[in-house]
């Protein structure tokens, strides 16, 4: 299998702008080529668009808009982890020799149809994600006797970190009091516990070893990939206090990269809601069950940006199709020592955790210098 790495990336600020999906898509692509003038657009032989937008044929449209004629062009949709699914597809095209350079571009509008999974009728009238996250939150608080205050530290930490990220939707800091007094959505969920839908785009180019060595001054390699889909419906989860698909995905990714979880220096994980961060920390193996919130507090108290340095989904906003790509860009910047005030010292190995629909599907990527 050919080695696959990151050739370049482009990302623009996440906003609440009401723009056409095609314009959103082009924003980060333009940024990518502006920052990487050595890349010849005509060498891109595959274009993958990651989005939940209902517009059709977006990859050929994007290709035409940037004046290229790739061999492969199509969209990829898998709700909230469309972005990392697209990166895995790009990896596969390159590893198999079907393409040498793949542009992966994710974009979403603030009013994305990907927020609600209509098919999941077992949820009855409770289809909005705030309901599954309320069930997860209640179960987690009940099982491990976790207070609302302790859980709210996730939002406090991630907003603080997002403040150092010029592309984040949020640029405000909040106290525990602010979080637990923010608008009550359900008995177990406050507004500041939620990532917000937004308009955003992120693009990345993956390439063969030869392309990466030629075009990137600081090559970053994808050395581990793990994915698992356990169901589509929320109610089929075997546990509401852990993420089964995440456990299986991280196991596969670590084996592929020949690493253990203790080797990981920096992480972007899928904090769609506050409870998701401790659940992911525990399911990935960073914390014992029920202690993820203690790690969150420790990181906050020591100003350690190891987990969700860009501010996670809660701080950055969650433009579904762009999220997994934005997470991957952050880890790339961290490993390139290029993350400014968010920089985690001596980061050599990074991990991305991106999931869909109440953790029924997870992707884990491992990146290395």
């Amino acid at each position: 299998m050919n080695k696959v790495g990151i050739v370049g990336y482009g990302i623009t600020p996440f906003t609440k702008d009401d723009k056409k999906i095609e314009s959103i898509l082009i924003d980060s692509v333009k940024e990518l080529f502006k920052n990487n003038s050595d890349i010849n657009r005509n060498d891109v032989d595959a274009v993958l668009v990651s989005t939940n937008n209902n517009s059709k044929y977006l990859s050929p449209i994007l290709s035409e808009m940037i004046g290229i004629q790739p061999k492969i062009a199509h969209s990829i949709e898998n709700l909230c982890n469309s972005g990392t699914n697209s990166i895995v597809s790009a990896y596969s095209y390159i590893a198999s020799g079907l393409a040498d350079m793949v542009l992966v571009s994710g974009a979403e509008r603030y009013d994305s149809p990907g927020s609600v999974l209509e098919w999941d009728v077992s949820r009855g009238e409770y289809k909005h994600p705030i309901f599954w996250s309320s069930i997860f939150t209640k179960s987690y608080k009940r099982k491990y006797n976790i207070s609302e205050e302790r859980l709210s530290m996730v939002s406090v930490k991630n907003h603080k970190q997002a403040k150092e990220n010029p592309n984040a939707l949020s640029n405000r800091v909040f106290t525990i009091g602010d979080v637990i007094n923010s608008k009550q959505l359900t008995d177990d969920l406050r507004l500041l516990d939620c990532s917000r839908p937004c308009t955003g785009s992120a693009s990345i180019i993956l390439g063969t070893e030869e392309k990466v060595k030629k075009l990137s001054k600081e090559p970053i390699w994808i050395t581990g990939i793990g994915q698992k889909t356990t169901s589509a419906g929320f109610t089929k989860n075997i546990s509401f206090t852990s993420m089964d698909s995440t456990k299986q995905a991280v196991d596969t990714a670590l084996k592929m990269s020949k690493k253990t979880i203790t080797n990981i220096d920096v992480v972007e994980l899928h904090d769609a809601f506050s409870v998701c961060e401790p659940l992911a920390l525990e399911s990935l193996g960073f914390s014992e069950d029920g202690t993820g919130v203690d790690l969150v507090k420790e990181l906050y108290d020591t100003n350690n940006f190891k987990i969700n340095p860009r501010g996670g989904l809660i701080g950055c906003g969650h433009p579904l199709g762009a999220t997994g790509i934005a997470q991957t860009i952050e880890i790339t910047q961290q490993l390139q020592s290029n993350a400014n005030k968010r920089q985690v010292d001596n980061a050599k190995v990074g991990l991305i955790h991106n999931m869909s629909a109440a953790a029924t599907s997870s992707t884990v990527l491992i990146l290395e210098k």
Partner: protein
Amino acid sequence: MSFETKLNDGIFCIPKCDDCKKIVWPPADLCNHCFGNVSLKEGEFEGKIIEFSSKENLYFCLVEFEKTFRIIATILKTPDVGQSVKISKCGIIGGDYFFEVN
């Protein structure tokens, strides 16, 4: 008669495979275990509350039936985890299924 037609009439049925007898959930025309045909069983099914929360003082709970499948249902009285409940109302409003238990 489909699960949805029955549900629309306010009747909750459990879809079961004619061949392997397994419950097929979410309701489908085809068994996801053996691809057999599916028939609907009517009855007073008892479920168990797995978890609950509330929105604007209205409780919603995750209920497990036949130790096999779960739904999210409304419950009017304060629920308890482990409590036994039965479907008291169900149907389709504006394209969305709804379930109420007590």
